[in-house]
């Protein structure tokens, strides 16, 4: 199990990186030592390559309009970085395997699954999460429509549904009920709020035009 825990970034208020590095050292000793130099701009410090954690990657992102710089373990997914490092817990982890859509965010304006996106691979890009949709206290039309139409029960899938729905309208895939069903199929709702989600989308799409 020790080999699994470091795949998730430590919470910024929790474990320090040093503690985290210490706990995981044994796993990687051979790997990093065998590596040739990485591309300069993205390279991790190479002074002590045999030590786990020394192959961290410098990543600069814009998240909800804010610049963020961090040293990321190459294994961290964008989902874990958002939740554990940046305390943006609006984005949810459902399956962690690309099968449910709960983790949907926008990267460069496109909806993607943050659970299958490596943080290191979105260096330099713009990320929008559900926290970035509203304008201060003023909710996005899609957020208001979800509330007005009861587009949820437990709410666990909701931020993913909303991020997907906002992108859906932008893609031009929200014109018919059939299109909405088909192009929202990547967002599973275990509570079965689908008809209300569809109503919310139809409502919001008018306002978004």
């Amino acid at each position: 199990m020790a080999s699994r825990s470091p795949s998730t970034p430590p919470h910024r208020d929790g474990l320090s990186r040093r503690g985290f590095i210490g706990r995981t050292g044994a796993v990687v000793a051979g790997t990093a030592a065998a590596s040739a130099p990485l591309d300069t701009a993205r390279a991790a410090p190479q002074s002590a390559p045999a030590q786990q954690g020394e192959n961290l990657v410098a990543v600069a992102l814009t998240v909800n309009g804010r610049s963020v710089r961090l040293m990321a373990d190459p294994r961290w997914t964008l989902l874990d970085t958002l939740r554990e490092r940046l305390s943006l817990t609006g984005t949810k982890k459902g399956c962690d395997r690309g099968q449910c859509g709960a983790c949907t965010v926008h990267v460069e304006g496109r909806r993607v699954l943050s659970c299958l996106t490596l943080t290191a691979s979105v260096d330099g890009e713009h990320v929008t999460t559900v926290e970035g949709l509203s304008d201060g206290e003023h909710l996005h039309p899609m957020q208001r429509a979800f509330i007005a139409h009861d587009g949820f029960q437990c709410g666990y899938c909701t931020s993913g549904q909303i991020m997907s729905a906002v992108a859906l309208v932008g893609e031009g895939h929200a014109d018919t009920d059939d299109d909405i069903k088909e192009y929202m199929s990547g967002n599973i709702c275990r509570c079965g709020a689908y008809p209300f989600i569809r109503d919310a989308i139809k409502d919001a799409r008018e306002e978004m035009r």
Binding site: S3, R4, P6, S7, T24, V27, V28, T31, A32, A34, S35, A36, L38, D39, R42, A44, Q52, N55, V57, P74, R75, T77, D96, R97, G98, G101, T104, R110, R111, V112, L113, C115, L116, T117, L118, A120, S121, D123, S164, A167, L168, E171, H173, K181, E182, Y183, S185, G186, N187
Partner: protein
């Protein structure tokens, strides 16, 4: 996840230089990251190829060319692809979800791994994942598994939809590696499992897929993809059919037919293509032409329904395309 180091080169040359040993290229990551989490794939280095100049969609008199890093969603909505090669656009749109299609690349799609539950579960035997360990699917849960091209070592289905469409259209894969560039017919790119199911294709170590080409075929405008699955969307195929027909005066002059969900690799059906030539475009005629489509199939305990489902899938796909 096992630890790995990470590189994001900007040129093809340096990507190939960075690769080697236990490295893996990263495109959309929708297969790789998933399988790294499951510890089915355990590369010691991940080489991110997303900054390489491998984009571009070209539709012209020579046919179609897709850069390996084009995303499934962008190819699916391209007007030229939609009008001239609808079977490709449809196979893509019926794959995965919009989020996944926004991430997943065409090159990665061709190299995605089987969805066999035993391949994905490191606590069970699997000859594809761990050669010599056995095949748990032979006697286990095998409803979704293959019936064509299987062996006693492996019955895993090839999961890609668009590869089925591309095989039907005689697509080629363009490759670039330490020894230069070459290209292969996609149909020959995939291997049958035999007793080496861990060898899935003819990609050489460090070699990159740089693009996919489809030769010009005017009647590919009359093509389509039908996918039959347990739910209407966001699911892999139980059976699928990619069909293109050249019809004149209600008679088939030429046909292209390949099927998915049933083979250990995308499965072209040349005998069905032959049997279609000269037939009228009626359901009865299609039924005769596809009567032997599943000859040689080896159904398993839970998928004996597949040969019949496959024939019916073909008849419906042919009927739809024949009416275009």
């Amino acid at each position: 996840m096992h630890a790995y180091d990470f590189a994001a080169p900007r040129s093809i040359r340096s990507a190939i230089d960075r690769a080697g040993g236990e490295s893996a290229y990263l495109a959309g990551g929708t297969t790789l990251v998933d399988l790294m989490k499951l510890e089915v794939m355990t590369p010691s280095r991940v080489v991110d190829i997303n900054r390489l100049p491998l984009k571009g969609i070209r539709v012209d008199g020579n046919g179609l060319r897709l850069g390996a890093l084009e995303r499934m969603s962008d190819v699916a909505r391209h007007p030229g692809v939609r009008s001239r090669y609808p079977v490709v656009a449809q196979a893509l749109e019926l794959s995965a979800s919009q989020q996944l299609r926004n991430m997943a690349s065409m090159g990665g799609n061709l190299l995605q791994r089987t969805r066999c539950g035993y391949f994905r579960d490191t606590s069970t035997p699997c000859n594809k994942r761990l050669p010599g360990s056995g095949c748990a699917a032979l006697t286990g849960e095998n409803r979704t598994h293959a019936i064509l091209g299987t062996s006693d070592s492996c019955v895993a289905t090839h999961p890609s939809d668009v590869a089925v469409a591309l095989v039907a259209l005689d697509a080629q894969v363009e490759l670039y590696g330490p020894h230069g560039r070459r290209s292969l017919p996609l149909g020959d790119f995939y291997r049958l499992p035999g007793n080496t199911p861990h060898l899935e294709n003819h990609l050489l170590p460090r070699e990159l897929i740089t693009g996919i080409t489809v030769p010009s075929l005017s009647w590919a405008r009359h093509s389509g993809y039908l996918k039959v699955r347990d739910r209407q969307s966001y699911e892999f195929a139980l059976t699928s059919a990619a069909v293109a027909l050249d019809v004149s005066g209600g008679v088939v002059r030429e046909a292209r037919v390949a099927v998915g969900g049933v083979g250990t690799r995308p499965w072209r059906l040349p005998a069905v293509e032959q049997a279609l030539v000269g037939r009228r475009t009626t359901e009865a005629a299609y039924e005769q032409a596809v009567a032997h489509a599943a000859d040689g199939a080896r159904p398993l305990a839970h998928n004996a329904f597949k040969p019949e489902l496959l024939r019916r899938t073909l008849v419906r796909a042919l009927t739809t395309v024949g009416e275009l």
